[in-house]
């Protein structure tokens, strides 16, 4: 689960050998310990408790206390189509949003890389969606923007033949994904922009001198240079987008039917609607295991380009 990449080898700081005495080793470790201990306590303890509850039958809508039922919750997780559906939807939503946001991000970064009148204003406008509170964005999109009767989008699309379309009914998943893309494209754009602006100008000049056209330069020089930035954006974006909850809760509450129920919302409903703590815990444990598997694959895929940078 990597992710640091450095293109130019960093200045090596010479660590003067101070001897490998235990005191020195502890001196090295000491600054790390507070954060490490804190993280272990706050993240691992809840996971262990989750593991514990996954073997219990524990409901919040009856007064019966929690009792041990072995692997029964896990059996339900694997046989219940609801979990599989939520999983598939999570994947679809994340992959679509990440890919589209990145494509748009590259496009916008290229646009903003050139000088034109009011460039900084345009950049400010484009990054604003990322700064809007996600639940606020979701509520505004669901109401004033996409409402079938009174929404702005329907009004804007009227000349194109759209007539009071109920977006959150007929295109629920698309609407939620749209909001995800709207909020995260600026993030992708900023990362790619940093990459564009770090491109050494002399190689571009040389290409121009050699007579290379704009498209060729982009394809053969710029894109490869941007690759680590793009992969960073994809990785970071995926981590956050797979956990999207606000948009689903505020726009569609997982509906219509279960059309927009992703994993976070499914877990939320298990706890707050079915009050099935044991079942939710088992679902959670399975989700964590799946995440670890996926992350390991992701690490392998990006390992070639990502290297840990040495101090």
């Amino acid at each position: 689960m990597t992710v640091i990449e450095d293109l130019a080898p960093p200045p090596k700081v010479e660590v003067r050998p101070r001897g490998v005495s235990r005191r020195d080793r502890w001196q090295l470790r000491l600054p790390l310990l507070p954060a490490l201990i804190y993280t272990i306590v706050v993240t691992q303890i809840p996971f262990l408790v989750t593991l514990w509850y996954s073997f219990q039958s524990y409901f919040w809508n009856t007064p019966a206390p929690a009792h041990f039922i072995g692997l029964s919750n896990y059996k339900t997780v694997f046989t219940n189509p609801a979990f599989r559906g939520a999983l598939v939807r999570s994947v679809v939503m994340t992959v679509t949003a990440v890919i589209v946001a990145m494509i748009l991000g590259v496009f916008f970064a290229v646009l903003l890389d050139r000088k034109f009148l009011g460039r900084s204003i345009v950049r400010t406008l484009i990054i604003t969606p990322f700064l809007v509170m996600p639940v606020a964005a979701a509520l505004v999109w669901a109401g004033p923007m996409l409402d079938p009767q009174f929404g702005l989008v329907n009004w804007l699309l009227q000349p194109f033949g759209v007539n009071h379309e109920a977006w959150l009914t007929t295109h629920a998943l698309g609407s939620v994904i749209l909001v995800m893309i709207w909020q995260w494209t600026p993030f992708m754009m900023l990362i790619v922009l940093a990459g564009l602006q770090s491109q050494p100008a002399d190689t571009l000049e040389a290409a121009k001198v050699d007579g290379a056209g704009a498209w060729a330069t982009f394809g053969e020089l710029t894109l490869p240079h941007l690759r680590p930035y793009i992969e960073l954006g994809v990785l970071l974006g995926s981590i956050y987008l797979v956990n999207v909850f606000d948009a689903v809760k505020a726009m569609t509450q997982g509906g219509p039917g279960t059309a927009t129920t992703n994993l976070p919302y499914y877990l939320y409903e298990q706890v707050n609607n079915a009050f099935d703590i044991g079942g939710a815990a088992a679902t959670g444990v399975v989700t964590v295991i799946l995440t670890i598997i996926v992350a390991t694959f992701a690490l392998r895929m990006f390992a070639r380009v990502f290297q840990f940078e040495e101090a």
Binding site: T2, V3, I4, D6, P10, L28, R29, P31, L32, P34, A35, L36, Y38, T39, V42, T43, I45, P46, F47, V49, W52, L111, L112, R114, F116, V122, R123, L125, T128, P129, L131, V132, M133, V135, A136, A137, L139, V140, G143, P144, D147, F150, W155, F187, L190, I191, G195, P228, N243, D246, K249, P264, Y268, V271, N272, T283, T287, V288, F308, A311
Partner: protein, 285 residues
């Protein structure tokens, strides 16, 4: 062979094409910018409408603006914004206090197994917090932290710490080795090294890291919704509660959404460059 500056040899027709191309890109960029900003603009506009003007067909652009919705929002938001401010600020400071030494121990004078350390921190970010929400509730209840601002502070710190460590570490790696060597020659111990050499140099990076932590903590809904009720409810919960069961609400909702988002938007606008730097760290130069 020296290249003759291309511009000097550019014929008029080509130059015209180049300029129209530039203008074309500029116009396209403006169109994109406005399109992306439009929902935010609509949100702010709707916030100034009376409810009757907020639900019309066709949507109204001309109307008599009113501050009534904002008055409603400000009369109700007091405890929520206080909780948001406390949770965000304290957790961000805690992140920096924990993160700076940890990043130091993973970069400048790294522990022997620093790769594993970094792995571990990043891995906690990959595990979805939603998986543990029921047990988190029970833990919070048993430790008397339920509906306390501390439960949010603790969890937000854990939520932002991995990203912060990673970012701060990248900034620390940029500190020129000459400065570090000079400090060492001077006989500086670790603490002085951090205080007098590293921190001043990376302070812009600390600012951008703090900014990102503030954004994520301020906007967080899931944990607040599940673990707080009245004594620690934050602004996102105020927003959700402004959707009434049986009544009109679009204008009021827009006002609440505007008020909730404006702080982070303003901060993000002002600190754009910092934000860019922070977000692109990790894939440097």
């Amino acid at each position: 062979m020296t290249a003759v500056p291309i511009r000097d040899r550019e014929p008029a027709a080509l130059r015209l094409r180049r300029i129209t191309g530039q203008v074309g890109w500029g116009v396209l960029a403006w169109v994109v910018g406005i399109a992306f900003f439009l929902p935010v603009l609509w949100m702010v506009l709707t916030a100034f409408k009376p409810e009757s003007a907020a639900q019309t067909w066709p949507p109204k652009f001309i109307f008599t603006p009113t501050l009534a919705q904002f008055r409603l929002v400000f009369s109700g938001w007091g405890p929520y914004v206080t909780h948001s401010l406390i949770a965000t600020t304290v957790s961000t400071v805690l992140v920096l206090v924990l993160g700076v030494p940890a990043a130091y121990a993973l970069s400048v004078h790294p522990v022997p197994r620093w790769r594993d350390g970094l792995f571990f921190f990043i891995s906690t970010k990959m595990l979805p917090i939603v998986a543990a929400i029921g047990p988190l509730y029970v833990i919070a209840l048993k430790t008397h932290l339920l509906d306390s601002i501390w439960v949010l502070i603790i969890l937000y710190t854990a939520m932002n710490l991995p990203l912060a460590i990673w970012l701060i570490r990248s900034f620390m790696l940029e500190v020129p080795k000459e400065m570090l060597e000079a400090a060492e020659l001077d006989g500086a111990g670790r603490v002085r090294e951090i205080n007098e050499v590293i921190l001043p140099v990376i302070s812009p990076g600390l600012v951008s890291t703090a900014l990102i932590c503030v954004i994520f903590a301020w906007n967080e809904l899931f944990l607040a919704l599940n673990l707080t009720t009245t004594n620690a409810a934050t602004l996102p919960m105020f927003l959700i509660s402004s959707v009434p069961q049986e009544g009109l609400y679009l204008a009021h909702l827009s006002a609440a959404a505007t008020v909730a988002s404006v702080p982070v938007i303003l901060v993000g606008w002002v600190a754009q460059r910092s934000l860019v730097r922070g977000l692109s760290m990790g894939a440097i130069k």
